[in-house]
């Protein structure tokens, strides 16, 4: 192990070390504020370590322990995961402070889940792929079930546990079959090795891996778990599942498809294209009927992952730099919007015993809490992809990639899906400004840490939409100066 190894793996070491310190800390003093402080400290140190480690990463990437490779893109994703975890920790403080009796262990799970996401994003080998995925998923089961006294989180955790474990085993079986057919488990080598080997096992393996990934990304037709889990999980955890866990899988997926040229096989391409189109259309159609804000956001996230898949699909036909740029900008936008959305749900329901997640209870929020209502308006408009929000920039990028890759059917599905989406996103805005009916549930006044976090996210959504140049420049520099 060389000194460069240490520098590049420093963020991971800090995350693991921070988890251990927090674990011991919680067993000595049980104070919610100290647990939050240690968590934030770990996450901020890891961010600093990423910055230091980046100086040691050459342009073509740095191979770490032969099963992961760090490039600028991985550093970018890791920064996003850490920021997502910081925001989640801030929301969790407001959310659990008033609800759970013992809330300190939640932060341990948050740190391990984030570590898993960081490993998954850097994976170049099946071993690191499955290891990162499982560290992430197993932490998530416990995070979803965290409020032990409530009924819905437990049910959601049981559902997520079974379905996510089935998806993991499908991925494992796929890996095993590919290994049996090719004799290698490195992403970049399996394609060449498969050319001379048994194609049937190889293709069955790829299909199983695709199914498992589609499950994890909740793409149609593997989306059945999403609304139930999103609704049942505590809102802070839902935000984390929707952003960091999916972002990590996307980071891995882009590298996987790019490295092994999987989509150049016609059958695989059309299957994945079908999944993307189905997600965009079905996700948006099912969201039309929802009266529950969390379920609405669940269907909306199905559609958004469908949009993102368009960019992944054109990885062979469009310029890879443009595809990577699209994915990074889309993920940034999706993180900001989704974290703000679920943060809002968690804030508005703080004092209530059960969550006031029905759209109805947000009636006239503008006249009661203008700040939160403005942020929710920005979120709804950004999800719809209205100009002057970051959602528009992201959608424009996907559109541009689709056009450059000449994937016209996908571009049409994107347009139709977005058009359907506008209806229910605008319904949220309409609900917010409606007159307050007598007898609607009064919403609790929310606490400071969460409100600050949600306001910052809301400002980011608008500012990055009005003036996106710094973000685009930063992403472009990273993409052009680093190999995949």
């Amino acid at each position: 192990m060389s000194l460069t190894d240490v520098w590049v793996s420093f963020p991971y070491l800090i995350m693991v070390g921070g988890t251990l310190v927090l674990m011991i800390g919680v067993s000595i003093v049980r104070t919610h504020a100290i647990a939050l402080g240690l968590t934030l400290l770990t996450l901020v140190f890891a961010l600093a370590a990423l910055d230091i480690g980046w100086d040691h990463i050459p342009a073509e990437g740095y191979v770490l322990f032969s099963i992961t490779r760090m490039t600028g893109i991985q550093v970018f994703f890791n920064v996003l995961f850490l920021l997502g975890a910081i925001v989640t920790a801030l929301f969790a403080y407001s959310y659990f402070d008033s609800r759970a009796k013992r809330c300190e262990e939640f932060y341990i799970l948050l740190l391990t889940a984030t570590t898993g996401a960081m490993v998954l994003a850097a994976a170049t080998h099946f071993a690191s792929f499955i290891l990162g995925l499982e560290i992430l998923s197993i932490s998530l089961y416990a995070m979803i079930a965290y409020p032990r006294d409530a009924r819905h989180p437990l049910e959601a955790a049981a559902k997520y546990l079974v379905l996510s474990a089935v998806a993991s085993t499908a991925i494992l079986m796929g890996m095993a079959l590919i290994y049996a057919a090719t004799g290698t488990m490195a992403f970049a080598e399996i394609n060449q090795a498969a050319a001379g080997g048994e194609q049937s096992y190889y293709l069955l393996g790829q299909a199983l891996i695709c199914v498992g990934i589609a499950f994890k990304l909740s793409l149609v037709p593997f989306h059945m778990w999403t609304p139930d889990v999103y609704q049942g999980a505590p809102a802070v955890v839902t935000g984390y599942v929707a952003t960091v866990s999916k972002g990590a899988v996307i980071a891995m997926l882009v590298r996987y498809v790019h490295a092994n040229d999987m989509l150049s096989h016609d059958g695989v391409f059309y299957a994945v294209a079908f999944v993307a189109v189905a997600s965009m259309i079905v996700g948006n159609l099912l969201a039309l009927m929802q009266t529950n804000l969390k379920r609405l956001l669940a269907y909306s996230s199905i559609a958004h992952l469908g949009y993102l898949l368009v960019a992944v699909l054109v990885v062979q036909t469009a310029r890879p730099e443009l595809v990577m740029e699209t994915v990074l900008i889309y993920v940034v936008a999706y993180f900001a919007i989704t974290l703000a959305a679920f943060g809002l749900v968690s804030l508005t329901t703080e004092a209530a015993a059960d969550e006031t997640e029905f759209l109805e209870s947000y009636t006239g929020l503008f006249w009661r809490n203008p700040l939160l209502a403005s942020v929710l308006t920005a979120v709804a408009l950004a999800l719809a992809g209205i100009p002057l929000t970051v959602g528009f920039i992201a959608k424009f990028y996907v559109f541009a990639s689709g056009v450059e890759g000449a994937a016209w059917a996908l571009v049409w599905a994107l347009v139709i899906g977005s058009a359907i989406g506008i209806y229910y996103y605008l319904r949220i805005v309409y609900t917010l400004v409606k007159e307050v009916k007598p007898g609607t549930v009064a919403m609790a006044q929310s606490s400071t840490t969460g409100t600050v976090a949600v306001t910052v996210l809301g400002i980011a959504i608008v500012v990055l939409g009005v003036y996106p140049t710094p973000l685009i420049d930063a992403v472009r520099t990273i993409v052009q100066n680093s190999g995949f």
Partner: protein, 100 residues
């Protein structure tokens, strides 16, 4: 050493048995056992493939799967205990309450 093909067929059969078990069983403990079937089928393929290629990688993956299965089952049983305490049943249909 039996031919790799035979082991692969056996493993795929085991995998299907597990998958069917997850789908038809209503008791969460049996669902978890079925999941264990599926995981071990994967492990079997890895070991057979490792032997076929003469590499230790397959067996390393087997150990990795063992560890992952143990971690998963530890969390799963925690959730099962909570379910039993809270709902008084392990039937997944009886527990299901999240609806549109």
């Amino acid at each position: 050493m039996p031919p790799t093909e035979h082991v692969l067929i056996l493993a795929l059969l085991l995998f299907c048995v597990g998958a069917v078990g997850v789908l038809v069983r209503r008791n969460i403990i049996f669902i978890l056992i079925s999941l264990e079937f599926m995981m071990n089928a994967c492990a079997l393929v890895f070991v057979a493939a490792g032997a076929k290629w003469g590499q230790p990688d397959g067996q390393i993956m087997f150990l990795l799967i063992l560890a992952l299965a143990a971690a998963e089952v530890a969390v799963a049983l925690g959730i099962v205990i909570q379910m039993a305490r809270r709902f008084g049943t392990l039937d997944v249909d009886a527990v299901s309450g999240l609806r549109e």
